[in-house]
Each structure stands twice: as structure tokens, then as C-alpha cells.
Subunit: 339 residues, 2 copies
């Protein structure tokens, strides 16, 4: 485990070490032949520049913090993948951290990242409270929130038009002939969820449908909670021909409960999800859903973060992408009579 430095190269090449630095940085203030000679020596000695030292003098680590609630979540891991790709294409690397959806952890991670001198942070927040909670840090470090709508908060974020997505979903089911659509998993505390519920309500209003809700009483969303909720729901009488689930994980919970109770989808009722996580395209699941364009989300997130980093501007930007419908097999058209 050697450690060839710029000085070693300088000695070997018989020049001063600032000359080596110039050769490496592609400075114009150097003759072509000395540059080539030095580069040759570097190669021979297997010199690798010490990024840490460079970071210190350049006051930039070319490192981005990526804080999310848990990479093992399929939505997050997909996003993380694209964020890494995009960042690397721009010459940055990613320090990955999991907050576990814990505000204190999140704060701690911000401090850690600031100490590590990352150039910026991509945050998939624990919830809308994150914005308030992290406020003091946001002035110290360029940050972009992704996935969560911050509405008119004075901080950069990238998200999907959740209101519009829900609206599109209801329209689709309506077009299929459904007139009784239950919204499943409505939940307090998340702006994203609030917007989806609002979009649903607005579409119902516009199309003359009666809104019906099954509220999520848990503090978060998961297949397990979706399952528990669905079990309760199925114990009651059915007044709907379609369920619009607030998230794909909710929909998967519904699928599980339905399976257990011998309820057939889409024969007994149609099921529409939201997010288009990887799970949803799996055989036997084939969930029709509203897609969040994750690759786009990732790339816009990195771009707007780097814009902020490189311009040193204190401004912020809100980017809201349009979700789209992905048709698979969990929804069916209703014959006139049934509608």
C-alpha cells in the first residue's frame, strides 16, 4: 500500500511539484513536452491524485449527500440509482444515508454531511415536517427536496403533480364506466397525500361522483398497513366498483387481503395504484397505476441542486413533473348495466 504523492512525481521528473500540479490540471502555463513527460512519469509511478487534499484547497468535495428514509424501499432505491448516475455524469459522487424516517436522525445526518463538506444534499424527507425541522441547516448547505411537495416553501424541491395524478386516475376509472370509486389510504400529515386526496375529490366533483374514503389511520404507508386496512374494509358491505389506492404499497396490501378472502381483482372490483414502483409490474401483480417519472425526478433533482451549488445563488426552484397512467391488468371496463 504505497502512497505516491505529487512530490514523488516531481522528484522523479526533476521538476518542482507545482509544475506537476499544472500538468495534471491541464493548465495552459506549461510547455507541451514537459507536460507529457510528467504525465508519463505519473503513469509509470501509478500516481493517483489525493482528492481529499484537493477538496480542502478547492473548498469543494464534489460529493453530494443523499439522505433518504431507507434505500431498501423500491421507490427510494430506484431514485437512488438514477441520482447516482446523474451525479456521476456531472463529476460528483454520492454519500448515501438512511434516516429511517426519523427527524432527529435526519438532523444528525445533516450535521454529519455538513461536517463532511458535501457540496449539496438531495433529501427524500421523512415528511413535510422535515422542512421546518431542518430549517437551520438549509441556510448552510444547498439542498433539494425530492418527492414531497413543499407547496410554497422557500426551498428547492422536485416532485410530481400529485393533485393532477389523482385527477387523471379518477378520470380513467370514470372512462371505464366506474361511478363508485373508493379512495383508499387517505392520510394526514403528508402534503403529497393531501394533494392526492384533493385531486381525487376535485375529479369526483367535476364528474358528479360521490367521494368515498377509507382512511389510513397509521402514521405511514406500507404493504402491511394496507393489508390491515383492507381487511377491515372487506368486512363491510361493498358500495364501490373500483378502489383508487393512495400508493402502490397500499394497493399491494389490498391485493394480499383480497387473495386471502377470495376476492378477485379486477372481476370483483378494479384497483388503481399510485407511484409505479417496481413491484407493480411483476407477474401476477400487474397493477394499473399512476407513474411517478423517477428517472426524470432524479435527473431534475441533481440538476437543480448543482445549479444552486455552482451559481452560489441563494434562490430556490420548484419543479413539478407530470405523472402518467400506466395500464396493466388490475382495472377493467364495466359493462353499461353494472356502472
Amino acid at each position: 500500500m504505497k502512497n505516491v504523492t505529487i512530490k514523488d512525481v516531481a522528484k522523479a521528473a526533476g521538476v518542482s511539484y507545482s509544475t506537476v500540479s499544472r500538468a495534471l490540471s491541464g493548465s495552459p502555463e506549461i510547455s507541451t513536452d514537459t507536460r507529457e513527460r510528467i504525465l508519463q512519469v505519473c503513469k509509470e509511478m501509478h500516481y493517483t491524485a489525493n482528492t481529499v487534499a484537493r477538496s480542502m484547497v478547492m473548498r469543494s468535495t464534489k460529493l453530494l449527500g443523499l439522505i433518504l428514509t431507507g434505500v431498501n424501499n423500491p421507490f427510494m432505491s430506484e431514485l437512488a440509482y438514477h441520482i447516482d448516475r446523474q451525479a456521476r455524469a456531472r463529476g460528483y459522487n454520492i454519500i448515501l444515508c438512511n434516516s429511517g424516517r426519523d427527524l432527529d436522525q435526519e438532523k444528525e445526518l445533516f450535521e454529519l454531511m455538513i461536517g463532511r463538506q458535501v457540496d449539496g444534499i438531495v433529501l427524500l424527507p421523512s415528511g413535510p415536517e422535515s422542512y421546518e425541522s431542518l430549517h437551520p441547516y438549509l441556510e448552510c448547505i444547498p439542498t433539494v427536496f425530492v418527492g414531497e411537495n413543499l407547496r410554497d416553501a422557500q426551498e428547492s424541491y422536485v416532485s410530481v403533480d400529485n393533485y393532477r395524478g389523482a385527477y387523471i386516475g379518477v378520470e380513467y376509472l370514470h372512462r371505464l364506466g366506474h361511478r363508485n370509486i373508493l379512495y383508499f389510504g387517505r392520510r394526514r400529515g403528508s402534503t403529497t397525500h393531501q394533494l392526492r386526496a384533493e385531486g381525487y375529490a376535485a375529479a369526483c366533483q367535476d364528474l358528479g361522483l360521490e367521494p368515498q374514503y377509507c382512511n389510513n389511520t397509521f402514521s405511514s404507508t406500507s404493504i402491511k398497513y394496507g393489508y390491515q386496512l383492507a381487511k377491515q374494509l372487506f368486512a363491510q358491505e361493498r358500495h364501490y366498483t373500483a378502489i383508487f389506492a393512495a400508493t402502490d404499497t397500499n394497493a399491494l396490501g389490498i391485493l394480499q387481503a383480497a387473495e386471502e378472502m377470495n376476492i378477485r381483482i379486477p372481476e370483483d372490483f378494479s384497483l388503481l395504484g399510485f407511484d409505479n414502483i417496481q413491484y407493480s409490474s411483476l407477474p401476477r401483480i400487474e397493477l394499473t397505476t399512476i407513474e411517478q417519472p423517477m428517472k426524470m425526478l432524479a435527473s431534475v433533482a441533481v440538476d437543480s441542486l448543482l445549479e444552486k451549488v455552482q451559481n452560489e445563488l441563494a434562490g430556490y426552484s420548484h419543479r413539478v413533473l407530470m405523472p402518467t397512467l400506466v395500464e396493466r391488468s388490475s382495472c377493467r371496463a364495466l359493462p353499461r348495466a353494472e356502472g
Copy 2:
């Protein structure tokens, strides 16, 4: 965006800056009251230590490189999650990189990580060729391979006993009454896969079964390839009552093809997977499979890497964990007659 340094704190507290350093590092060579006074000033000034500067003098970044083929793969993302947790518990952070299963990328990432002075690398290799390909780098930086068996290679690795796992799987199917078990997705080029196939063959031999194979002619494993392979397989006559898939993704491809062709599982044949990725536990999928203990894999990987890092020993360790059977709904017991 201020930047409070140790010097600023020193000036404010009226001490030399080495005293501040001592107060922060918890050195005993300092009086309790000056320490407390300094810590107080640090808090007031919102001082955060610059990890980059510290790294330089300490010659340790407390950073680990995590190189995998793609976090968006559910097996990888699960592993990444646990690796981060374990690393952080030990005071390290993770730089995440995706190699895209490309050997050149992998090399490039090693160089990048070495330049970044990471203390060690956790590698989920592209394949068994990675070991050869990365050889020059392995002497420069402590590395642990995870997931792939390197057999007797002189480098640390953590993996599962794939041979034994396959053996257990065949025993299980045999116990269920199956006498004709097809091994699906046998593939060249991966030691992991070779060992699984060997375990299958050995169990067949020991139990007096005739081995049958459906070979994976693709260079890698995915649901899509599994699907294509299965389509071909189903076009032929069936001489088996159970399929043992080399990986869960293969099994999911089989499920997809079966769905399309109205083949019922486990009624028409039983299906056993290997890995226990998250997908496998989903409703409607409920794949019975051989589990790789991912949390354990992650924690052992980090531990043996840090052992290497901290002891500065040039040695290596091979840790092989035992896989276990996870019973779900894709296998059924055969009545005597059918066996």
C-alpha cells in the same frame, strides 16, 4: 453560509487553537473548566468540525466505498441498506457507486475510490472475473467481496454456502414427494451459479434422482431472461413435477410465463427459488425459496472489512453463511401416486 473554524473558536474563547482541538477530541490533557468553556463557545458559534481537514492529517476518511452493480436491484438495495446501517454504527459513511456490471466501470470506480482515500471497499462484484480484473487495486485498498464465492482466492469474501443451499432445496422437494426436479437457469461464468448447480447435482445423486437442466444462455439473470427461457421450456413436453430456479428473478420469469400460458403453480408443478429477494414475499407471488441472510451478510461484510482496515493486516478471511429454507405457497406435497 458561514464557515466557523477552530481558529475562530480559539479567538473567541481566548485560547490557542490546539487547545480547542484538544477540547473537541476529548483529550485528557486539558482542565475540565476550559474544556467546558470551549465546548460552550463551539455551540454558540455553531462550530462543526471539518472532516476533510481531519481526514487529511489522520490519514483516514472514515469513508467506505460501496460498489455494486445497481442499487435498483432488490437484492442489492437490501444489502446496501444493511451495510450502511452497520457502517454507520461503526462510525463510517458510505460512498455509493453503481458499476452496471461492467468490468471497466468497476476498475474506474476503484481508482476513483482510491483517489478519494476511502478506508476500504465493499464490493458486490460484476462476476467472478472481477477478482482477476481488479487484482492490481486489491493490493492498494482493503476490500471485501460480498455475495460471490471466490473459492480459494486470496482475498476476503463473505457469501452464502450456495452448494449447501441448493442441496437443501432438493432435499425439501424430495421430502414433498417430488422425484423429477428440473434445475432452471444453470449458467456458466458465475461461481455462485456453478456451486448451486453442483449442490443440485450432488443432492440428486445422493437421493437417486435423475438431474434435468434448463440452461440459461444469457450472460446474466433477470426476470425478463427467466421469462424467455420459461417460454421455450413450456413449449416442450413436461417431465418434471417441480422446478428449482437458480434465482428468485428466474422464478419470477417462470411465474410470468406460466401466467400467460395458463399453467398453475403449484398445481401443475412446484416452484422453488433461491435468494429470497423482497419481491418473493409479495401477495400473489408467495414464492418458496432458499434465503440468503442479507442482514447477516451485510454485517459480516462490514465487520471483516473494518477488521482488515483497523489492523492493517494484509491477511484475508472467507466467511460462508448458511442459507435457509423459507416456505411459502409455490410448492406443494405430491400425493403418493403422482410422485
